[in-house]
């Protein structure tokens, strides 16, 4: 192909409208080392005209994914092929940023791990405290239910025709706390209940109930009241099986009580013989 032939085809070449064979011939002519007669300039002008035709097209807006794809390809290109200063600086800069980000992330994760561990420990404590409180509430509820049941039984016994009510009093006047109470006794049914007030809990001490028959002082259990000091307790029916006792008494004993009364008598009441 001569330069004249090339220039005759240059417009169609710039438009991309030549057949493959002619296109290849034009490309080969341009690439040849022969002295050209303005072939390159003619092609530049033709390409410029073709580019100008592009202004006739309405502009389209590429989606964001297009630039993202370019960046991705450039990143691969930069890593693989471009050894230029700009590319290397970009890579190095990115590497330092990545290292810094990793360090910051590690510090943050370490601190966050410590915080999470503390949070977990606090949560465990809260759960343990809640469980303790729940158990305490369940115990108190059980006691209250037991007290209520006992009170109902005492009330039922009180309604019986043969039931006696006996006052329990301190054996001698005291200047200190004044204790008072009652015993509900039904000799026929061999059942008895003790009602007492002011039996407030004392550290290292327990209130103990006694069934007195002649010289015998039989331990009938500990009386553990709530903070109000009021209690309703049933006397063990086995202790009443031989018959009505002579008296009932309450003493203040060392914690846990005993089989023999050692502490002071707080309340006592003689059971009348029917």
């Amino acid at each position: 192909m001569t330069c004249a032939e090339f220039k005759a085809s240059v417009h169609a070449y710039a438009l991309g409208a030549l057949d493959p064979q002619e296109r290849d011939a034009c490309a080969a002519h341009l690439a040849s080392s022969q002295a050209h007669e303005g072939c390159g300039e003619a092609l530049a002008r033709a390409e410029q005209v073709v580019a100008e035709l592009g202004w006739s097209l309405p502009v389209e807006r590429p989606s964001p994914a297009v630039w993202a794809g370019i960046e991705q390809r450039l990143g691969l290109e930069t890593a693989a092929a471009r050894g230029g200063g700009g590319g290397r600086r970009w890579r190095e800069g990115f590497a330092w940023v990545a290292v810094a980000a990793a360090v910051v992330a590690l510090i943050w994760m370490s601190r966050r791990e410590g915080e999470l561990r503390l949070d977990a420990e606090r949560a465990r404590q809260v759960v343990a405290e809640a469980e303790t409180a729940r158990q305490r509430c369940a115990h108190d509820l059980q006691q209250a239910q037991g007290q209520l049941a006992t009170q109902k039984q005492a009330l039922a016994l009180l309604m019986r025709p043969a039931t006696q009510v006996v006052q329990l009093k301190p054996p001698e006047p005291s200047a200190g706390r004044v204790y008072h109470g009652s015993a509900i006794m039904n000799s026929g049914e061999r059942r008895a209940f003790v009602l007492a007030g002011d039996l407030v809990p004392q550290s290292g001490k327990d209130y103990e109930l006694w069934v007195i028959r002649g010289q015998q002082k039989l331990p009938a259990g500990l009386l553990r009241a709530g903070p109000s000091g009021t209690i309703v307790a049933e006397v063990d029916p086995k202790l009443l099986a031989p018959g009505p006792p002579d008296a009932l008494a309450v003493t203040l004993e060392p914690e846990g009580g005993g089989n023999v009364p050692r502490g002071p008598i707080l309340l006592v009441g003689a059971i009348p013989k029917t």
């Binding site: 409208a17 073709v50 592009g54 630039w67 450039l74």
Partner: protein, 197 residues
Amino acid sequence: MPGQPRARVEARAEDDAVLFGRVARGESSALRALYDRHGGRTLAIALRLLVQRSEAEEVVQETFVEVWRRAREYDPGRGSAASYIATIARTRSLDRLRARRSAERTAQAAALEETPPPASPLETSEQRQDRERVLAALSALPDEQRLVIESAYYRGLSLREIAERIGEPLGTVKSRVRLAMAKLEGLLLSREQGEPQ
């Protein structure tokens, strides 16, 4: 105002040349600036030929990756950066178009009009002026010349295909292209002539 659109294009070309220099030095921000300026036009060129948007957007990606790789080869003395980018985009699009099966291509070509598509609602006043300037230049061509240019540019048809379509000898079509392009060069590239007459 005569001369104003052409002066604006030249000022823009100077800026583009600076950006190309920065791209050649590995500044990705300059490539982004070129993309912001020419990405929409590049997509329009590819979309016009390929129709399918996803494929046209792939061409846009390929075009700007090639700009990045070949920025050092760009010679402002041989043409504007816009022309350089548009040539890459058009070549890539034509390569894809011609790689398709002939049946598919024929069906697609039949669906296209030779005339330019209507204006986009996204068009700015500056873009509208550019578009009107080129359309005015095209309308200044004789009908038979405008037909071959529009068939080649907007539909990607080869001269042989155009000749077959209009029933004229290949040499006649080639001659019409040469004459049309010479006239368009005078209308669109002349410094003295701001707007087509």
